[in-house]
């Protein structure tokens, strides 16, 4: 076999490990044990494949090997007798089935298994950080050092989080399943939040960061796309996929030559990624086609789509955007959403309408010290030719930000209000 056998094995692992762990977790009913078994199979592959070559069905090979290891372990370990018998019997039954059917059998259950594993990794019993680490490790096939580097935390911290998370799940005997009934919505929200946290971590990476950080965007996109395939009946799953695709479409345009951030309306739209925009718009359409009121992700995606559809800033459908922000403010009210709504309203209906909304926010304690509030207010006042007030707002905004570029920009605007 070629000297780059390890690269090929890495690749197989990246493709197969989530399904492998998911299938094993169903059988042994323990996420930690399932991952250990999958790792055992990987070690066996690393030992054997460089000699024997990658088998024709590497996924089935890994699964069969992991199951053998499971039987071995169960025989040799001191486990509760009944559980051992029960699981051992199930495993032997599975092994008795004809080997060629293994692939088909895995494929049949695989969707449910994988979805169950994702729900388990994002279980609300775990801390948010642990959910992220476990999801990237079990479903994203990232190693612990990769996760640590991507999140700028020590490796030992991530390792600890994962170990504790597995223990927590085992001790609480969390069933590895797709939640049904009233439990489903909050659990799904937890899964989507984890994926979006991963995406935003990657999106906030700056030039010079370890490449693993921006790569988190791709990891999150992949997770989002997998989820869309596993739970196509959930509008918010498509909503999140759409939101991430559209946001990612701007990644090339959002920083300037020396790494400075470029605001959306100032971006060179020729640098947007129209493959991702098309995918995002298609995902949004799927969310909308499922009917009902749009959830927070789909609404944010619809807002992002207003920008994505406009070939120039002037073509932006501000009217529609103001309405979407209004809907978002209803189901997920926050002062920041309200501020954004004010901007959209001012673009659609004029600065006076926007100012009315912004003025209602000036007493909002959570926006205290948030430089964008006076900055937006200054802009609206300037557009209304209330220049003295506008200048005072720009100057106040300057005093609230440490970002040099923003300060320069705001000082210029203040000077322009003379």
């Amino acid at each position: 076999m070629a000297p780059d056998a390890h690269g090929a094995i890495d690749a197989v692992w990246r493709i197969e490990s989530a399904r492998l762990i998911a299938g094993l977790a169903r059988i042994v009913r323990d996420v930690g044990l399932a991952e250990d078994l999958a790792q055992d199979a990987l070690v066996a592959a690393l030992e054997q494949w460089p000699e024997s070559g990658v088998p024709e069905s590497p996924g089935a090979w890994l699964m069969a090997t992991a199951k053998h290891r499971a039987v071995d372990r169960l025989r040799h370990k001191q486990m509760a007798e009944r559980k051992q018998e029960e699981i051992g019997r199930e495993l032997e039954l599975e092994q008795q089935r004809a080997e060629p059917d293994l692939d088909a059998e895995i494929d049949d259950d695989i969707g449910d298994d994988l979805l169950s594993l994702i729900f388990t990794a994002c279980h609300p019993l775990l801390s948010p950080e642990a959910r992220v680490a476990l999801t990237l490790r079990l479903i994203g096939a990232l190693t612990t050092p990769e996760i640590a580097r991507a999140f700028l935390v020590p490796e030992a911290t991530v390792a600890q989080r994962i170990v504790r998370a597995k223990r927590t799940l085992a001790e609480a005997q969390v069933p590895i399943e797709v939640p049904r009934g009233s439990d489903r919505d909050p659990r799904l929200a937890s899964v989507l939040a984890v994926v979006y946290v991963i995406f935003n971590e990657g999106y906030s990476a700056t030039a010079g960061d370890d490449w693993l950080r921006p790569a988190l965007c791709e990891d999150a996109l992949r997770l989002g796309r997998i989820l869309a395939g596993l739970a196509p009946e959930e509008p918010e799953v498509h909503g999140l996929a759409a939101l991430m695709e559209i946001q990612a479409s701007r990644s090339r345009a959002r920083t300037g030559p020396s790494g400075e951030p470029i605001l959306l309306l100032d971006q060179d739209r020729g640098r947007w990624d129209y493959v991702l925009i098309d995918r995002g718009l298609a995902a949004l359409q799927r969310a909308e086609a499922l009917g009902g009121a749009l959830g927070p992700y789909a609404l944010q995606a619809a807002i992002a789509a207003c920008h994505a559809r406009a070939r120039t800033p002037e073509e932006t459908d501000w009217d529609r955007m103001a309405g979407l922000y209004g809907a978002l403010a209803q189901i997920a009210p926050s002062p920041v959403v309200e501020l954004n709504r004010a901007v959209a309203v001012s673009m659609a209906f004029g600065p006076a309408a926007g100012l009315e909304l912004v003025d209602a926010l000036t007493s909002e304690p959570s926006l205290d010290g948030y430089h964008l509030l006076p900055s937006v207010r200054g802009d609206l006042l300037a557009r209304l030719s209330r220049l003295d007030e506008a200048r005072a707002e720009f100057e106040r905004a300057v005093s609230l930000t440490d970002n040099e570029r923003e300060r320069t920009l705001l000082l210029e605007r203040a000077a322009g209000c003379a």
Binding site: D4, G7, A8, D10, A11, V12, R14, I15, A215, E218, L221, R222, L223, G224, R225, I226, G229, L230, R252, P257, S258, D268, G270, R271, V275, L276, R279, T312
Partner: protein, 142 residues
């Protein structure tokens, strides 16, 4: 990272022979697997080169040559755009593809440039120049 995965043409695909039902089904399943894995971004089959054309450049001269073109094996019959972690992963996915042609065939894997790949070659000045050109192009369109 992204890869363009290109299926090379053969005499049949160039003659406009459509894949048989079994291949279509297997290809459909393969595509579905890549979509479900979150890997496939886009992909299309291409008409034979007889429906295409080439624009040849020589200095400032341009001349158009209509298809078909010889050397079927150098032509492209279809492509995928995939997003994976490494060339190895791209290879592993392509190995799982059903043989796209009857008999011998070839699929080529090429990495897509990302903005950061241009590195120092793509200097701020060049970027700015590119931006100016774009702005000009946009202004002309209005």
């Amino acid at each position: 990272m992204r890869f363009m995965v290109m299926v090379k043409a053969d005499e049949n695909s160039e003659a406009g022979v459509m894949p048989n039902e079994q291949l279509l089904r297997e290809m459909g399943e393969y595509n579905e697997e890549m979509v479900k894995a979150g890997v496939m971004l886009a992909g299309e089959g291409l008409h034979p080169s007889s429906k295409g054309a080439r624009v040849k450049f020589s200095g400032n001269e341009r001349s158009v040559v209509d298809g078909p073109f010889a050397e079927a094996k150098e032509l492209i019959a279809g492509y995928w755009l995939i997003q994976v972690k490494s060339l190895d992963e791209a290879i592993e996915w392509v190995k799982r593809c059903p043989n796209p042609m009857e008999g011998e065939s070839e699929i080529e894997i090429r990495q897509v440039f990302e903005a950061e790949d241009f590195g120092d070659e793509f200097t701020p000045e060049l970027r700015e120049q590119e931006n100016r050109i774009r702005e000009q192009a946009e202004a002309n369109q209005q």
